[in-house]
């Protein structure tokens, strides 16, 4: 979370990605919330985004939802809730996501990481007073952010075309599948043990709180963008690829090619 935010602060674009990393629905939604896009009608000029016309519509919808609902609520939240408390809440909800990360650590064949994830939960739940504080990070037990979308990537599944989901924000067929699998694996547990009158408000608090933490970042990034849709798409795609690649140890071919392209001065002739 801190990481995602950090990056976001610098480049902004991270907001969407950070969202996914931290909590599937929360920030993604935030990130997806975007202002007017001047170039809304460009016709699939971008490689990797054959669904661009559709995506832009959904993106605009998400933006509207953010503009009229989520952002104002988060702004109100932000004025009432102290920053420290916001961070504690984010820590708390992060801690609850650890089973997902643990399972995906294992699925990706990273037993050491899985072990660290368990340690993190133990430390943060006890010393960190139920997960509201994050002493584990101070002790260099860093957070695992594995999700099933990344696991599929590590197993060799390509992400497929860029896809913007209503309310959930930037994704891809692979990542959307991953999100569904992660949710399906954890939701029954919470449904069974925790009553709806707890889960629904808790979920809402989590979403609003994360949006509140990203308020400034997203505002700045929107301001710096020339085409906010393209900025978010580019950031999300790069961020997810990086997440998968980091874990996949061997550098991936497509990245190399993209890299060549990206830093060459002469290919334009």
């Amino acid at each position: 979370m801190a990481r995602a935010l950090a990056a976001a602060l610098l480049l902004a674009l991270l907001a969407p990605a950070g969202a996914i990393e931290a909590e599937p629905a929360g920030d993604v939604q935030a990130a997806a919330a975007v202002p007017d896009d001047p170039s809304s009608d460009s016709h699939a000029r971008s490689p990797g985004d054959p669904w661009e016309p559709f995506n832009r519509k959904v993106f605009a919808f998400n933006e509207t939802v953010d503009h009229y609902a989520l952002e104002p609520i988060a702004t109100g939240w932000n004025t009432v809730v102290p920053d420290r408390v916001e961070t504690c809440l984010a820590n708390f909800f992060d801690n609850l996501q650890m089973p997902v990360h643990f399972a995906n650590d294992l699925l990706q064949g990273k037993p050491w990481k899985a072990y660290e994830t368990v340690w993190r939960v133990v430390v943060n739940t006890t010393v960190g007073l139920g997960g509201f504080f994050d002493p584990a990070s101070a002790w260099q037990i860093y957070k695992s952010n594995e999700d099933f979308g990344q696991t599929l990537g590590v197993w060799g599944t390509p992400p497929g075309p860029y896809l913007v989901l209503p309310l959930l924000g930037p994704s891809s067929p692979r990542d959307a599948t991953g999100m569904a699998v992660d949710a399906a694996a954890t939701a029954p547990v919470s449904w069974y043990f925790i009553p709806v009158y707890v889960t629904v408000p808790a979920r809402s608090v989590d979403i609003v709180n994360r949006r509140a933490l990203a308020l400034e970042t997203i505002r700045e990034e929107r301001k710096a963008a020339f085409d906010w849709y393209a900025a978010v798409r580019s950031a999300f795609t790069q961020y997810r690829e990086n997440q998968v690649r980091d874990r996949a140890e061997a550098p991936k071919e497509p990245q190399e090619t993209q890299d060549e392209d990206l830093y060459g001065l002469d290919e334009d002739e």
Binding site: L9, S39, D246
Partner: protein, 211 residues
Amino acid sequence: MASTKTSDMSRKRARVAALCGALAAVLALSAAAEAESPRVLIQRTIDEVLAILRDPKKSDAARRPELETIARDRFDFDTMSRLVMATNWKKLTPPQQAEFVDEFTRFLANDYGARIERYEQEQVEITGERPEARGDFTIKTKIVGGKNDGALVDYRMRQKSGNWKIIDVVIEGISLVANYRDQFREVAGNGGPTVVIEKLKEKNAAAPKPS
């Protein structure tokens, strides 16, 4: 620098060696030696930026131009302009290209100043380096402490007339150059590459400090 003119080469080398000898003392004393290694340059940049941010006597208004000056010195905006415009670069006339570089420089320097301003309580650690294609070099850094604890920031460097310059900043895998390239492709796709220049002008005019 192939093998054909060996005598010429060795004469040149001798001259260079002599020069080096003469200048060695001066260079040794100068922290800002020519052809600073990428790593040293990034370290120096980090130190300078943090010194500005932490100077309690400086107001935000005083800091901004200093940060922008550093940005203008360390980034190779000329190369970055070509990279972000990619195929659209050749569609601009030379005067338009010059205009683009000028406006993009202002935009990025301002943007860099605005972003970096928020970093005062943080430390930056150089965690490694990696040679890249085309003789480029990447210096890897990590932010320690503050809100962005653990964020990874890579600087891609390229040598230009003997000096290393930053040509891209990659945060958590997100390349600034790739990001603006993707945006400019869209913008240029809706009305041609000159629209990008117009948009840059608009942004720069709206910036609080167009320096």
